[in-house]
């Protein structure tokens, strides 16, 4: 487990992007599942209060990029599932491009060869 010092603070909007990306690649998820997936992918380098996932989910619902519905979880508990909407996919595509360009820019600035 990484120590506190090594963990990354989340940039504003990053979490929203990650949630969208996860919902897109994994299909409908509930909040706990999302948190697990993000934890798994980020390999513990993110310092994340998992509760903030719910704030991201509400923000995304406001923009109508995701929709929610009640269903049963793997262990048959009642859970709210979130799924990406077509508008959410379009937004994801836009944001992914922005991220790639930003990453490329940072890489260039650091003198490294672009990937």
């Amino acid at each position: 487990m990484a120590t506190g010092r090594d963990r990354l603070e989340l940039l504003q909007g990053t979490l929203d992007f990650m949630v969208l990306q996860t919902l897109d690649s994994m299909g409908p998820q509930h909040g706990y599942g999302l948190a697990r997936r993000i934890e798994q992918v980020s390999e513990d380098i993110l310092r994340l209060n998992e509760g903030t996932v719910y704030a991201a989910l509400m923000r995304l619902q406001h923009r109508r990029w995701i929709a929610s519905s009640w269903g049963a979880s793997e262990n048959n508990r009642k859970a709210k599932f979130y799924a990406i909407t077509p508008a959410g996919r379009r937004q994801l595509a836009r944001e992914a491009e922005t991220w790639d360009r930003l990453a490329g820019l940072i890489a260039k600035l650091r003198g490294a060869e672009p990937r």
């Binding site: 509930h30 909040g31 706990y32 948190a35 209060n49 998992e50 509760g51 903030t52 719910y54 704030a55 509400m58 923000r59 619902q61 406001h62 109508r64 508990r77 859970a79 709210k80």
Partner: protein, 885 residues
Amino acid sequence: MWMRLRAALSRLLFVLQRQRFDDETRAEMASHIALLTERYERRGLSRDAAYVAARRQFGNPSAIRQDLYEMNSLRLIEQSLQDLKYAARQLRASAGFAAVVVATLGLGIGGTTAVFSVVRAVLLEPLPYDEPAQLVRFYQQDPARPEFRGVVAGTHFSFVREHAASFSGVAALAHYSETGLDLAAGGSVHRLRVLPVSAGYFETLRARPAIGRGFDRTDESGTRRVVLGDATWRTHFGSDPSIVGRTIRLSAQSYEVTGVAPPGFEDPFAPDVAAWIPYDLAGDVFDQNYALTAVGRLRPTVSLAQAQAELASLALRMREQWPNSRQSEIVALPLHGELVARARGPLRLVFASVALVLLVVCVNVANLALVRATGRVHEFAVRAALGSSSSRLARQLLIESLLLAALGGVAGLWLASGGVRLLQRLGRDALPRVDEVGLDAGVVLFAVAVTAATGIAFGLAPVFRLARTPPVEALRLQSRSATGTRGLARLRGSLAAAQIALAVTLVAGAGVLVASFDRLQKVDLGVRLDRVLTFEVHLPAARYEPARRVSFQETLARRLERLPGVSAAGGISRLPATGSYHPWNTRILTGPLANTSVDRQHFVLQQRVVSGRAFAALGIPLLAGRTFDDRDGVTAPGRAVVSANLARTAFPGLPLDAIPGQRIFVPVGERRLDIIGVVGDVALSVYGTPTMTVYHAHSQFAENRNWALTQIVAGDRIPEQVLADVRQEVARLDPELVVYRPLPMTEIVGRGTSRERFALVLMGTFAIIALALAALGLYGVLAYSVRQRSPEFGIRIALGADAAQVRSLVFRQASLVVLAGVGAGLAGALILGRWLGALAFGIAPADPRILSASAILLVCVAFIATWLPARRAASVEPRTAIQDG
């Protein structure tokens, strides 16, 4: 736009469901934490340790719920609602403050709204005719003296109608000949106000009769046709649609009804016209009979300038055709401007005054709000310390003042609805179109705008003050500390000075009007006004041939004189001091100026026809010779009485005693007249404009036309009491006659000053309000400062200062404020003075007497407002003051 609307809508959906969202989120998070706990348990932690770890990983659920809740709310609106609730609570807690503010604001907003509604209806609203901007009024003038514009001669009107191509229609209105006709209906006789008009009248105003038609040129030879007003048609003819083509009896003559005017149609100049008849334009052939009000409608493609250019080009041809007419030029001016021209000055002045009052009100309320704000420094410091942002606090203050303003606005609208009726009554004779005044959507919108503006204006002062005080300082100093509020005290002092300045300005303005009105009342009109009754009797020409008219007039006068309490009675073709009428040229036949003309182009020369003992009834003194009596009948040689001015002008060097026996010639009626007497001069207008008059005896001049004589009954009874007897006498002579427009002489002449009275009453009221508010404002500032400085006064008294010394401290503080205010106010009065211009009579708006009197009045009032706080300062009990401090 669409996107934003959808976003707002979806936002609203979330707001409406936020309780459900909250419940769901709570359940979701609980299960999330439970799952996390299980996970840690599976990794071997104890149940408690697992729960703590899960909570750490999740974060604070209630904080997140709070975030979500706020996300699902309309923050600005909901916080504002909260502020509003808080503000309402605050105001309830200080009901006295709120009541004073709402009442003052109501006064300011109500007054401004009421005056604005008048300004709007009279000055701003377009005329109630189709395409009103195309309408013009024609004037005839002497190119050498363009400042004297006058009514138009029939000959020149006809010429313009024939030759000017700029107009789609023109019409002449014979307001001079506007008399009245008696309509016998349902057993009683009604007098209708009847206006003779040319062809094209209804067409030019685009008010085609609702049924039937108007007049055409074949009617212009005095045919007996009539167009009824809508109200007349409904009241007296039961809205009978078959009326057109029928013959009705008016003043014992038959008139064919050609049409009914559209509902709501009013003549632009004369209100309450009940019917229109054709004007005998064909018979109006004398090129110097300036008697017609003429209007026209510009073609849509023609500008006013083009039309004026065309009229100018016609002037030459008119001069060729009528070489004797010096007034050879016709000009056209926008009708709306001409109708409201006389009202514009007073209205602008009154509006400026009421705006000043509103300013005083705002300053006063701002001052009150500041006092309150000072008491709340502590409250706001605590709120700021607890994390309220300064913008949030500022908003709170603004919402409080807007709430107060809104309440004041409601009170103001209520006051305005009463004020409008008051203004209508007051302005009846002073303002055109005053019946159209009302509170409509536009006026209410204005009131709302004024309310919002005042709310922000007086709310700003405390906002600047409070929201900027650093909380630490405010908390340390406590609210009572004088040190922390020194800037505030200065601000309040300047506000009080501003109020005094505005009050001085208004008082000086009102002072000028009072002095003018007083001078106006003292103008010697040359006639008796007190206890004189006037009325009109119109003799139907069909039943009254000239000889009968003469005997009627003389008999009526004699019988009225026999009434108890009546000393003299008679008739005159137009009352003195009510304007120019029949300004005919007159030739002098004898004396040093024999065979020259007393030319009305250079002198204000008037002709009047009198019956009975008109001179005695009017109180016009006889200076030489005699007045008319039984000797001056139809068969006697033509005789005239002249006024002293005329005697001096036409017969220079001759003593008045030598005037009787001189002779003059009046072209109208070809009258060669022996002068038999000289009487005192009367004024042409209420402003005392001098004039000279030739008086004709009705008994000798009745052939010329059916003179409409105004009857004058003078005595020692008040006019209202005499009226019943007068009606009886008239009915005894002829039961079908109407005693028309019975009015005391004071009122008839008073109408000439209605404009001045209107401005005076309103501006006087506003000045008094401003004065009272300024006194209140000063008192408030001083009383508050005395309370704050009471420890200081206590120490001074303890150290041996006597009452007078302490009082002088307060007076010194007051004198600074008052001096600054009065100085600024006098400057303001000089600026306002320019607006007073036309209304000032016999006194300059910048008259030093008025200015110094206003300043002295203000100083006196300020002294009273200072005295109470000063006395309180002197009576401070040293021990308690120092202890409290």
